[in-house]
Assembly symmetry: C2
Homo-oligomer: 461 residues x 2
């Protein structure tokens, strides 16, 4: 392969441009409409070569654009999101979350790797094609949403209403992440997601821990019992039915995973831990790629003063694997929690809407083959690993259902870059590597042995 | 007994005056030095008849005053505090916490019943004596502290340094509370207190719950296990050694408690609960008066987003009964928590300083007899119950140790008035009842059959 596009801007120039985008605190959970729109409009302006526009949907708006000047060539839909996670505890950030800051080889800021940086890369590639070659090698539709971090609640309706307009032979997601920095990787699956709250209430109001202590059930005790009861001591999820539908891990798959170079000690040390921990009977990589998980994401009750809090809440999320059905998992957890009869308190389980099943793409799909070749070109001499995204990309199952198209994850984020946590960062080198890889991916999908086959949808090509 | 003082101000006038004091947000946990001093200065000004003054101590200042114009009469030390608890969740307050608000028969505001209203009562009585009779019936020293709600960390040193200056035959505490509104009561004991934090840490930072979920121990899971393991399912504290030193509850004491009219259904309904709950083998009143407790006051970790929090903390407080030693209880809990080997996390226990043992005063002490008579006069036809304060008054054990003096709790707060919780209130009628009762208490202690005997301290009268 020959590099044909020039990416002439300096790193500093690219970073400056990206900084303006990161500076918009588009936290979908709690930002104002104006803030979310500002981020959407930044994107739409970048897509001016493709008629970029902010489109209203229920909830935060989406951004769309189309470049369809390659008749006869395949059509892809590029997906990403402009919303970001909350900052969490500001005291834990070493820099201002919304001020993109260069720190050695990386740039830090909320959203820089999830998903603003990776989207920025594809924008620069498309713009370079248009400027330098006057055309893209294939037809590209762009769809960026503003609600990915809250479970994409309004994307399903939008996709269904615009299914014809968005029809494509492949979705390429700029969201997702390479598994680790040591070599290039592609993801052939992502985990599903369900979330829920458990609320335990006691008296009508907080009570003095002396004047009422010992005579009423304490909601924090009760919540602790419930949360502690979600797992067995050997790390298995204790919920009846949680694992229903999951195929047994085959010896073949175990062997394939065992063949992946994985330094468990390095993984452990990199996280600052004394030991790893997880479901008995599986090693770390199997837990990460093949097994569903249940994690408590937060608890809240009372404070550092002498009360019996009258309400205690816990937030829980589960990552699902193929075979699990989101609504069944939620029901199983609800049943399990409510089956615990704890005297003196009331327990409420509140499943969140928008559960997402797990997703897979075959390892021999043309998109995986083309992407492997593009990455091999950008990272010469390194094997391209086929990995699993243990995170969740809610749109993928939906794209398959509504558009009949598989999704290729092609993100230049890396999973160790503090996604969803304080001090999120992106490796600066990924910007330029990503641009070059997208260039080749598009060329390979447009023509040659990896040319995309047209998707058959509703009986018509 | 004949009422001799006039309390001529209208309720509205008293409330207005008290409102100015409540308006100072003297939250000892987090107020500024200026705010704490403003509350102290309000008190000092009220004590101008007794040379009232703010005195520097380590931490928030104390307020002192002395009226010693009754040679030959007994000397009492009046104790109270000007600091208040944090407001907790402002959303749960029906009125502004620091704007004293009349609501039917009660006045609402943070600190109005703990302890600003009860202290206000004794100030008005002393002022009335001076204005109307030119003298108090006995010698009175006043000591108000600003750190009661944070465990009185600097009171011990202050008392020891000023033991001679503060010498008294009895301490009368304007802090404490009547047990319930249905009849007058006196307290012959109060529970002790120890508090501690448990912190569980995992990775160096918060982790994405997908990309790392299932492969590392979750600190919130671990904290939940620890907290759930502090009690057995029958409500007993599961900590080895927690109950050490506590005498068996005698049949005689059980019978005395059984003789106290107590409407358990009303207690339960008043708290908005479906059932009460506590240590097996004891009824509610026995749990409240005779048994030590361990309560989780708060938990904190992560939030409603998809992370594995890297730190989870719980705050715990225990109320102690006679026989328990604070430092031993803290050690037993620490040992219990650290004995749980939870893989993949680090557990730290942080006992707070300032543990307080339980306190008792004999039921036949002259102060209890005089106080019983004073209350019987103000609440004619009602029996005066001898109860236990299930809360903690850290100063009492200290007064006994340093001054050799017992403490009489003589507060016109009532335990149902949302102490330490949102919507704290005080019954308006208690203001006037309290003034009249203090008038008679002082007269009875000064002369007659209940005249206080002098305390023998360090071998000298």
């Amino acid at each position: 392969m020959v590099d044909m596009l020039s990416f002439d801007a300096t790193d500093a120039e690219y970073i400056d441009e990206l900084a303006a985008y990161v500076a918009v605190p588009s936290v979908s959970r709690d930002a104002t409409q104006e803030t979310m729109r500002a981020a959407a409009e930044w994107l739409a302006a970048q897509l001016s070569f493709a008629g970029g526009r902010v489109v209203e949907t229920e909830g935060h708006p989406a951004v769309r654009g189309d470049w369809l000047g390659a008749p006869g060539a395949p059509t892809i839909l590029v997906y990403g999101h402009y919303d970001v996670q909350p900052t969490g505890d500001l005291a834990e950030w070493h820099t201002e979350p919304f001020e993109l800051t260069v720190d050695g080889d990386v740039i830090r800021g909320r959203g820089v790797t999830d998903d603003k940086g990776p989207v920025f890369i594809v924008l620069k590639v498309a713009q370079a094609f248009v400027e330098q070659e006057g055309a893209l090698p294939l037809n590209v539709k762009f769809l960026f949403e503003g609600e990915e971090e809250i479970g994409s609640p309004h994307l399903p309706a939008y996709l269904r209403e615009h299914a014809d307009e968005l029809a494509a032979d492949l979705v390429i997601s700029a969201d997702g992440a390479m598994w680790r920095p040591s070599e290039p990787s592609l993801s052939i699956a992502s985990k599903g997601l369900v979330t829920l709250d458990v609320e335990v209430t006691g008296a009508d109001g907080d009570l003095h821990s002396g004047r009422f202590g010992g005579t009423v059930a304490n909601p924090v005790h009760a919540l602790s019992e419930i949360l502690a009861g979600l797992h067995t001591t050997d790390g298995r999820v204790a919920v009846d039915g949680f694992y229903d539908g999951i195929p047994e891990l085959t010896d073949e798959r175990r062997a394939a995973i065992a063949a992946v170079p994985f330094d468990e000690d390095g993984y452990r040390d990199g996280l600052g831990l004394d030991e790893v921990f997880g479901e008995a009977g599986y090693n770390t990589l199997e837990r990460l790629w093949e097994r569903p998980t249940l994690e408590i994401n937060g608890v809240k009750a009372g404070g550092k003063y002498t009360v019996i809090p009258h309400v205690a809440t816990g937030h829980i999320s589960c990552r699902l694997v193929p075979g699990q059905r989101p609504e069944r998992v939620l029901q199983a957890i609800t049943d399990h929690v409510l089956a615990q009869k704890i005297p003196g308190v009331r327990v409420t389980v509140r499943p969140d809407e928008g559960g997402v099943p797990a997703y897979t793409i075959p390892a021999d799909h043309p998109a995986i083959r083309a992407a492997t070749e593009a990455l091999a070109h950008v990272y010469p001499g390194q094997e391209v690993l086929l990995a699993v995204i243990a995170g969740t990309l809610p749109a993928t199952a939906l794209f398959e259902e509504v558009l009949g198209a598989k999704t290729l994850f092609f993100s230049f984020s890396t999973a160790d870059e503090n996604l969803h946590a304080p001090n999120e960062f992106l490796r600066i080198s990924r910007l330029r590597e990503g641009m070059r890889a997208w260039e080749h991916l598009w060329r390979l999908l447009a023509d040659g042995p990896h040319r995309l086959a047209p998707v058959i949808r509703d009986g018509s090509a």
